[in-house]
Every structure is written in C-alpha cells, then in structure tokens.
C-alpha cells in the first residue's frame, strides 16, 4: 500500500485494531457517557431476573408471545415519538390520536361499511393531518409543541368521544382479518427463522462491500473478525429468541410488522439525507438552516410521521382489543409510548437517538407491566412502578449527557 491510509495519517490518534480494539473502543465510549443501548439491556436483564424468580410463568414461551402481541401497538406509537424527540420536540397527544384513530376505524368500517383497508387508510391520513397542524403551529406561530400537543390531547379525545357517541364502544367483527391479526395470527416458523438470519447475513454482505470500497479508497476499515463476530452474535441471539418463542405459539405477525417499521425508520434516519437533516435540526437548528436545510419541512415531516404512526398504533390496539372504545388511548398509553422511546436511549434534548430505542424500550415497559400483572398487582402499583422507571431513564439520560459534555462528545 502506498503511504499511510487517508484517515490514519495523524499519529496523535490511537487506532483500535481488530477485536480487542473494538472492545476497547466500546469501553471508552461507555465511560465517556455514550451509553447507547447499554442501559436497556441491563434493565431488561434485571427485570427478567426479578420477575422470573417471583413467578416462573413470566419466562414461559407463551407469556413472551403475549408480551410481543401487546408491545406492537404502543411500540408503533413510540416509534413516532422517537421522530419528534430527535428534533427536541414532544407530542403529548399520541394517546388521544391513537384512540381517535381506533374510533375512526370503528365508525368508518363497522358502522359505515367502508372496506377495512380504506378505513385504516383514512385513520392514518387523519393522523397525518393532525401532525400537519402541529407542525404548522410550530413553524408559523413558534407555538411550543408541548402546548400545541397538550391542547391536541384534549381536542382529539373530545373528537373520539363524539365519534363513538352514546354507546361508547364499537365491537370489531371477531372473524375479520384485522382482529385475527391482533389476536392469533402467527408467522410461520420458516418465516421467523428467515427473519432471524437475514440481519446477520445483510450485515456481512454490506459490511464486506463497504470494506472493499474503503480499501480501494485508501481508508482504513474495521477488521473482518469484528464484522463476523458482530453478525454471528446477532444471528445466534435472534435464532435463540425465535427458537424459544416457537416452543410456544411463535412470533406474532403484529410484532413482525412493527419490526419492519422499525427497520425502515432506522434506515431512513441513518442512511438518507432526510435522516441526517433530522439529527442536524435536533442538534443545532440554526446551523441546519444556514446549511440550506429547510428546518420547517423537516419539522413538519416529523410531526406528521409521529401522528400517523400514532394513528396506525391505534389501529393495532383496536385489533388487539377487538373493539374501539372510549378507553382506547387513555390512561398510560401516552406515558408508556414516550417512556419507551426515552428508556430505549433517545434523548429528550434532541439530536440523539435511534429507531431501535422504540422497540427495546417498549419491550422493557411491556415486560414490567406483564410481570406485575402476573404477580396479581393492581394497576395502581403498576402506574407507580412505570413512573419510577421513566424517572430513572430520564436521570440516566441527563447524567450521560453531562458526562458526554465533560468528555467532549456532545
């Protein structure tokens, strides 16, 4: 090779090579406060230990399958929350939006006889419209999203109650595909295993391609061993999870669809100009504006995406409960969705986060709620404990932020 590699010319920097190097870099990152997903994994481990020792049913395959069924709806809502949190904004009306959307599906599909898919599309479009209003208020009147969505919370709830009318709830037909989707549809075993193998395979494939390009461009590249070990660990872990779930009913379609959304958003955030702009606006809106990014459009897109995903989450929730009721979207839905995103590692302060935080966070939340239900504890205690966990997550976020600042990592 001719001369030093482009990115290895500076001798002041320690370059970590190979597996041990990757490990050392990881430890350095964590020490400086760049925790990433680490707190979630530790939390999940603790939760599992505590609940499975209190009640062994917690770890039974079918209980975990149920947990995944329950996680998908709020997980989708939480995915939207990640988008607004990345900008340093918030949406407090997601619960009401999901309730309104389930009411819309009930009214349009069951009461008015519209085709099911059309009703769902209508609900999602209504979500997009609500998000547009929030974005417009934020852009045009500089109205803090906190206030705009707080008033939205009340207004949308009112609309939901109005739509449902005097009866207060609409039952969805039990034999319909929507209810089956929410209650019994399970992915065939081959599909689950395929889905478990695919990420690792894709990682190796794209990793090799990038490595070759970097070598051709005279840039350093992380070693082959690191790539293979990472892909291997992920594949083994995923196959292990699927094999365990297959001992019960298997992986719910609902959860598979949710994961697909997570993967899509993850790609959009990390590998497209839109995603880069999202992080830029969340980090320094003025800098983004001067770089020619349309901050207003980015904000609009985030609010619309958030409300649309909340609406779709509402449809999922309705299909899970087989009804659209006045209670849909009330109670702890709002808090759980926001808590999931924060617990998963998306910062409340904007500019940091990932789509995966919604998935991991909602599993933590659902695991707590599921475990407490198994212990026959009342919802009063459940609320208190979930609130406590959220507080801890925010404290971890704040401490990590301070540590990053003192280690010069923003």
């Amino acid at each position: 090779m001719s001369g030093a590699q482009l990115d290895r010319a500076d001798t002041r920097v320690r370059h970590d090579e190979g597996l041990s190097g990757a490990l050392r870099a990881f430890v350095d990152r964590v020490r400086s406060g760049d925790l990433g997903m680490l707190p979630v994994f530790i939390g999940l481990l603790l939760i599992t230990l505590v609940f499975s020792s209190l009640n062994p049913v917690f770890l039974a395959p079918n209980n975990l399958v149920n947990l995944l069924f329950d996680a998908a709806a709020i997980g989708l809502i939480s995915l939207g929350v990640v988008c607004v949190l990345l900008l340093g904004e918030i949406d407090l009306s997601i619960g009401s939006m999901s309730g309104l959307s389930s009411a819309l599906v009930g009214v349009l599909w069951v009461n008015s006889g519209l085709p099911m898919m059309l009703a769902i599309l209508g609900a999602v479009l209504a979500g997009a419209a609500v998000g547009f209003v929030y974005g417009f208020l934020r852009n045009k009147f500089e109205m803090p999203s906190f206030v705009a969505t707080l008033s939205g919370l009340l207004a949308l709830l009112g609309l939901q109650l109005y739509l449902l009318g005097a009866t207060g709830s609409i039952n969805l037909p039990y034999t319909s595909p929507l209810v089956k989707f929410g209650q019994i549809l399970i992915m065939p075993a081959w599909l689950s295993y395929l889905a478990a193998i695919l990420p690792g395979a894709l990682m190796v494939f794209s990793g090799l391609k990038t490595m070759k390009r970097r070598r051709d461009a005279n840039l350093s590249s992380p070693g082959l061993s690191v790539l293979l070990v990472k892909a291997g660990v992920i594949t083994v872990a995923l196959i292990g999870c699927v094999a365990y779930l297959e001992q019960g009913r298997g992986v719910p379609y609902m959860f598979g669809v949710f994961t697909l959304f997570v993967v899509a958003l993850d790609y959009a955030l990390r590998r497209t100009q839109w995603g880069r702009s999202m992080f830029a606006v969340g980090g320094n809106a003025e800098a983004a504006r001067r770089s020619g990014i349309s901050v207003k459009k980015i904000r609009l897109s985030a609010f619309m995406l958030c409300s649309s995903l909340a609406a779709l989450g509402g449809v999922f929730a309705a299909s899970r409960l087989a009804s659209a009721s006045q209670q849909a979207g009330t109670g702890d839905v709002n808090l759980n969705a926001i808590a999931a995103a924060v617990i998963g590692g998306t910062s409340l302060f904007g500019g940091r986060g990932s789509a995966w935080s919604a998935l991991l966070g909602i599993i933590v939340i659902q695991a707590i709620s599921n475990g407490l239900t198994l212990l026959n504890l009342s919802s009063s205690l459940r609320y208190m404990i979930t609130g406590g966990v959220l507080a801890i997550a925010v404290i971890v976020d704040s401490l990590a932020r301070r540590s990053r600042a003192s280690h010069g990592r923003a």
Partner: protein
C-alpha cells in the same frame, strides 16, 4: 505584486437603517488569490458590509460588480450561488454530528443512500489540501478544539468551491497555537486561488496574512494599507486620531531609545 483576476468590486455602496447611515460610499476590490483584511472599530460598519455581501442586507445605493457584471445580492442563497461563502463567528456547526456529516450538511452525496465512503474520502482530501490537523473525521464536533472547529467551518465553506470566502473574526476565541493554525489555513486558502475577506480586531493577525488592509471608520473608507504599514498608522486610521495611548507609548519608547 501580481494580482489575480478582479472578482468583486464595490463602488459607492451605502446602507441606511432609518436615520442611521451604517455605510457610506464604500469602495472595495477583491482579487483571486488575495487576502483583504477589513478592520475598523466597533460600529465602523464591518458587520453591515459583511452582511451586505452575504446577501443578508441589501444596500440602499451603489453597485456591486461580480467578475465585471453588476449583480444584486438579494438573499443568502444568491450570494452563495454566485460564489461568496461566509463563515460567521458562531461557526454554525452541529455538535452532535461528526466532521464528515457537518462538511456535507445539506449537500449530502446520494440522498436516498448516503455515500459515506465517498464523502469521507472527499473530506480527507480537502482537509489534507488545507494541511488541517483534524485527528478523526468520524468524531462528533463536540470533541474538537476551537481551532479545529474553525478549520471545519472554513473547510465546509470551501466545499462548494466559492470564489470568495468571508471570515468573521476567525481567531477571536482562539489560543496562540490555534490562531497560528487558522492563519496558516487562510494562507492555504489563498494559495488555492480563492479571494479571502478577513474581518478581525487583531492587528497582529491581520498584518501576518493580509495582502491589503482596508480600514473602515464610521461607515466610510478610511484608507487602504499594506502589511508593511506600522501598527501605529493602522491604529491612527482606525481611531481617526494619531494622538492616542498607543502612539503616546510608542513615542515614549522611541524617546527612551534615543
């Protein structure tokens, strides 16, 4: 000294803010491969002039010629499209993003599948051309020093290959070594054939790199000097008086020597 092509020519540029005349009959020439320093006291009109050239303010009267043709700079976008890049004092970098992301912000390669490898190669190439010492382009901006951030901001403005770059107080917040680094960088930018407009309060820095020093005073031209001009003369031009503490001390010193 041989001069490059005349890029920017201002004649009789004035700017009124209500009753206040911020700029009056300003003349300014910038050639390719030349560093023009713009100096003056607070309120001399430097910032107004910079903002006029950046397209933020529109002049009340006067003409701006770009490569021989009169132009109107009616928005920051127009100025940028013509080839006038501005590095403002606050740099406007996203601290949570890495160097590559900041350099290409808003101009990413391949918008639906970002070409990270190509962007990184171009980033390194540009930084090496500027002999900039950035340890890693994959670290977030937050981990860089003030001088390195200034370097990234200047490199970013060069990415669109402007003809002129304006630097607003690039060394104001920097230490000795970092200031030297940025001044080196300015020389390299000049060698690449860009015209540089340097706004600074620091006479040492100005005399170290500037080919010409344009003094503004109370919104008007107050002489054009070269790097050989004495400190005293410059201060006199800036403050409008030859009798001030700097000149008095200088006189005392000369008296002691003699």
């Amino acid at each position: 000294m041989e001069q490059g092509e005349l890029i920017l020519k201002l004649r009789g540029v004035s700017k009124q803010f209500g009753a206040v005349t911020a700029l009056k009959d300003i003349e300014l020439d910038v050639h390719a491969g030349e560093v023009v320093a713009l100096v003056g006291d607070n309120g001399a009109g430097k910032s107004t002039l910079v903002k006029t050239l950046a397209g933020v303010h529109q002049p009340t009267s006067g003409t701006i010629e770009w490569c021989g043709t009169p132009v109107t700079l009616d928005s920051p976008g127009t100025a940028l499209a013509l080839g006038i890049a501005t590095v403002f004092q606050d740099l406007a970098l996203c601290e949570n993003l890495d160097v590559v992301a900041n350099l290409f912000l808003g101009h990413e390669l391949n918008r639906w599948a970002l070409d990270e490898v190509e962007m990184e190669v171009r980033a390194w190439t540009l930084l090496q051309e500027l002999a900039a010492r950035i340890p890693s382009v994959r670290e977030p901006i937050a981990s860089l020093s003030g001088g390195q951030r200034q370097t990234v901001a200047i490199a970013r403005s060069l990415l669109l290959d402007p003809k002129i770059i304006m630097l607003d107080e690039p060394t104001a917040a920097l230490g000795v070594a970092q200031t030297a680094e940025v001044l080196n960088l300015i020389e390299r930018v000049r060698e690449r054939g860009h015209g540089v407009i340097l706004i600074s309060h620091n006479m040492e820095d100005v005399r170290a790199v500037a080919d010409r020093i344009v003094v503004l005073r109370l919104g008007q031209n107050n002489g054009v000097f070269t790097a050989e001009t004495s400190h005293q003369e410059l201060v006199a031009a800036i403050t409008g008086a030859s009798e001030n503490s700097v000149s008095r001390r200088m006189a005392r010193k000369q008296g002691e020597v003699a």
